[in-house]
């Protein structure tokens, strides 16, 4: 019972993240990849993502602090972040990266900064939510994470 409840909670968490637009189908696909040989695959990938992207975000922040803005460099960083975020299904960050890219292209420093601020917010929100999610998932048991409780 306890387990079932946890399962449900887990499922609900995921559903709400999806509904709120924080996560997209890519996350679900990652979960499908998870199997017995790799029971914590999704968590590992997400952990890796947050570790690696933290560096990227820092780089972007630093670049934004250098006036005048080096749009080319910024664009490069953002492109990397876009690739990473899209791989784990971080939908909001991915979309913000796209917007940022457009602003870079337009050389609109102001918009770039604003978009980045939003990006940072959404990035942190999801990170915290996923942290909770995986903590719960570990309790539930790796195998059952993506499946409905029996």
């Amino acid at each position: 019972m306890e387990r079932n409840q946890m399962h449900r909670r887990l499922a609900n968490m995921k559903k709400s993240l999806l509904d709120q637009g924080f996560l997209d189908e890519q996350f679900l696909r990652l979960e499908e990849l998870q199997d017995a040989s790799n029971p914590n695959f999704v968590e590992e990938v997400v952990t890796l993502y947050y570790r690696d992207s933290a560096r990227l975000i820092l780089n972007i922040q630093q670049s934004l602090d250098n006036i005048p803005l080096d749009f080319a460099k910024l664009d490069g960083h953002i492109h990397q972040l876009k690739g990473s975020s899209s791989s784990i299904g971080d939908k909001k960050v991915k979309n913000e990266c796209t917007k940022f890219h457009e602003h870079c292209h337009a050389r609109n420093a102001d918009r770039c900064m604003r978009t980045f601020q939003q990006l940072q917010k959404d990035y942190s929100i999801l990170r915290n939510k996923l942290k909770t999610y995986f903590q719960l998932a570990r309790q539930v048991g790796p195998i059952d994470m993506a499946r409905r409780p029996k």
């Binding site: 890519q26 696909r29 990652l30 499908e32 990849l33 790799n38 695959f41 590992e44 990938v45 890796l48 993502y49 690696d52 992207s53 490069g76 492109h79 990397q80 876009k82 690739g83 990473s84 899209s86 791989s87 784990i88 299904g89």
Partner: protein, 681 residues
């Protein structure tokens, strides 16, 4: 050659699938190398590939990936690479791989903008996946492996092999691609007669099913080209070529598949030249106009029997070349190799189409690049480049290049050049203005490396346009080219002239020219840079195994500080080169070779022109970094040319050049006693 290399024990993570016996059906066990600097993506991809039952090897740096591939040429079936990587542009990696290993490469990126995808296509990528990559997309990548193999098969069949039994048994490198597990299903479908699987024959000699993939080094390629030319490109059949080449361990199938690629390449070159020619003309009316005409003359002279080139020009060029060549002695084998290497990648690519596409694309870019080079010079370069380019297979030793050069140079008379390697190649050249040195075939090759140079000069525009197209084409796809380009970009000729020459030096020249052209409107061939480039190349070449003669050839071409000389020399070289033939085996030969070349130049006043181009091409190709990573290591280039060009923007640079007008290489030819200024533009 890696004929002897046994199949790589790419045991990888896939268990039984690799063992003999049909443990798993193809495409299970497909050996994939995935390259991406993003660790998250890399992890996910690896997982997905494993899920598809592929053997995945991940790599987060392009350099590491390349060395993995080089160490183990038969160890991978397909490569997945990201486009944006910090240490090396994905497209460059793509070129390298295509040139050296001829493996199918799939590009990936979060960027789905059309121009980037197009770039992938033009650089020869089999496919382009948008991130996030789906599992479904990965499930189908095996088709690219099969497609490439089919190419080989078709080639073999087309060659009309006499050894039916052997043919059946000896699958082309395909056998090596697939793990034994695949043999069951895949092989049977391929093999007509021999139903037996010989998974255990991996260690057999080359005639076994599992013979290792043949690496068409520059040397090998040169031999191939020589043999093919000897037979007549249209009549060359794999069996005869094989006999002529007399390379132990090489099979008819190897030759057949290579021949097919080569033919595609030549076809592409010829087609492009035409396009390039037209393109350039349109592109830079002013720049090219005058030059075009002059170029045409040059070209005509060079190629066509008719001596349309003004005698004085030829003479001037010749003198310059001649004089210069004398000073230079050893052409670094590397250079030669590079020349070929340029070509090689193209030839090696099974996807001739792709190559063509990419090449043509590139060429077009270059095409437009205005060059200040004297048309003649450019033509020469082109020719040289073309001829050499063709000859130079990637990584092959100089010998091949020599043979090519021989072929190119052979026609002491321009007409000969026309008869070049593929017979028809040369003829193409003369016909069109600024036709690439070698007709179809050669031009393709040459143009690539020469592109940089040629494209730059508008006069050569006619020629260069074509060539440049090819050049660009060639240069780009070729791994070497990419390398060169990058190098080239770095090497910014101190002086215009330098650039020109430099550009022609294989891949590097490519960029060099482009970069230089932009900068140098004036004609200021700085031999120094050329010389520098040349020297560097020499060193690089020395490292390679190219025949000395090859290097000598290159050296001669560039040894002279004078750009003009170089061009001249280059022209001279071809003829001489031919004479020297493929012999070069050691340094000694190179020096004699060089001399021979020069002497040849003397004799062939006009003939030298085309040769120059050829030589230049050769030179350029030699420098193409593709084959020799070392060469590219940039030391050479860095020293020579300032790092002005962003490697990644080679094309744009080239384009820019085009727009700026042809760099007048010829302007500063300081041939002894023949000031360039006198040369009609």
């Amino acid at each position: 050659m890696n004929l002897g290399a046994s199949q790589v024990a790419k045991s990888g993570s896939m268990p039984s699938s690799s063992s003999h016996g049909p443990a798993q059906q193809f495409p299970a066990g497909l050996r994939v190398l995935v390259v991406d600097d993003d660790p998250t993506c890399l992890m996910i991809l690896e997982k997905m590939l494993r899920t598809c039952h592929y053997e995945a090897t991940k790599c987060n740096r392009a350099e590491i990936a390349l060395s993995l591939l080089r160490e183990n040429r038969n160890g991978y079936d397909i490569v997945l690479s990201d486009v944006h990587m910090p240490d090396m542009d994905g497209f460059k990696l793509l070129e390298h791989i295509g040139l050296e290993m001829d493996l199918p490469v799939i590009m990936m990126s979060a960027d789905d903008s059309k121009n980037v995808v197009m770039k992938g296509v033009t650089h020869g990528a089999c496919d382009y996946l948008i991130k996030p990559v789906r599992l479904e997309a990965l499930k189908n990548i095996w088709q690219h492996v099969v497609r490439k193999r089919k190419h080989v098969w078709k080639d073999i069949e087309q060659s009309g092999s006499v050894e039916d039994g052997k043919l059946q048994q000896q699958q082309p490198d395909d056998a090596d691609y697939l793990s034994s597990a695949n043999e069951g299903s895949w092989r049977n479908s391929k093999r007509k007669k021999d139903e037996e699987e010989d998974p255990e024959d991996r260690d057999d000699d080359t005639s076994s099913l599992k013979k290792p993939r043949v690496v068409w080094s520059v040397e090998l390629h040169q031999q191939f080209v020589a043999a093919a030319n000897q037979l007549g490109i249209d009549k060359a059949v794999p069996k005869k070529i094989l006999e002529l080449m007399n390379v132990p361990g090489l099979t008819r199938e190897n030759v057949a598949s290579h021949l097919q690629k080569y033919r595609l390449y030549l076809r592409r070159l010829s087609g492009q030249h035409q396009n390039a020619l037209n393109g350039s003309f349109m592109g830079n009316p002013e720049a090219t106009y005058g030059s075009i005409s002059s170029f045409n003359d040059l070209e005509l002279q060079a190629y066509a029997a008719s001596g349309q080139l003004p005698a004085q020009n030829l003479a001037a060029l010749q003198a310059a070349a001649f004089g210069r060549s004398a000073t230079k002695s050893v052409v670094s084998p590397l250079d030669q190799r590079n020349l070929f290497s340029f070509e090689t990648p193209k030839l090696r690519f099974g996807e001739g189409q792709q190559q063509h596409l990419s090449n043509s694309k590139q060429v077009n870019f270059l095409h437009g690049i205005p060059t200040n080079m004297e048309p003649k010079q450019l033509a020469n370069f082109h020719q040289a480049a073309n001829s050499f380019a063709i000859n130079m297979p990637v990584g092959s030793h100089g010998s091949q290049g020599n043979s090519l050069m021989m072929q190119m140079a052979q026609p002491q008379s321009r007409s000969q050049i026309q008869n070049d390697i593929n017979g028809s190649y040369v003829s193409r050249l003369p016909s069109s203005i600024g036709q690439p040195v070698v007709s179809n075939g050669t031009s393709r090759v040459l143009t690539r490396p020469v592109y940089n140079q040629v494209s730059q000069s508008s006069p050569v525009a006619g020629f260069s346009a074509q060539h440049s197209t090819d050049l660009s084409r060639n240069s780009f796809p070729l791994g070497g080219n990419s390398g060169i380009s990058s190098l080239a970009s770095k090497v910014i000729p101190r002086e215009e002239t330098t650039m020109q020459l430099k550009g022609s030096q294989g891949g590097s020249n490519y960029d060099v020219f482009s970069g230089q052209q932009q900068q140098h409107k004036s004609q200021d061939w700085s031999l120094q840079s050329s010389g520098l480039a040349f020297d560097t190349l020499q060193h690089a070449n020395m490292r390679g195994n190219h025949d000395v003669s090859q290097s000598a050839l290159v050296q001669q071409t560039f040894s002279s500080r004078d750009t003009i000389e170089q061009s001249r020399n280059s022209s001279v070289l071809p003829s001489v080169l031919l004479q020297q033939g493929f012999s070069s085996s050691g340094h000694s030969s190179s020096s004699s070779f060089g001399k021979g070349i020069f002497s040849g130049v003397e004799e062939n006043g006009h003939r030298n022109m085309p040769n120059i181009g050829q030589q230049l091409n050769a030179y350029f190709t030699d420098t193409s970094p593709r084959v020799k990573a070392e060469l590219l290591e940039g030391n050479f280039y860095n020293n020579i040319l300032p790092d002005q060009y962003d490697q990644e923007d080679l094309m744009s640079a080239l384009l820019k050049h085009q727009q700026e007008g042809i760099v007048t290489v010829e302007n500063d030819f300081d041939f002894d006693g023949y000031p360039l200024d006198n040369l009609p533009v």
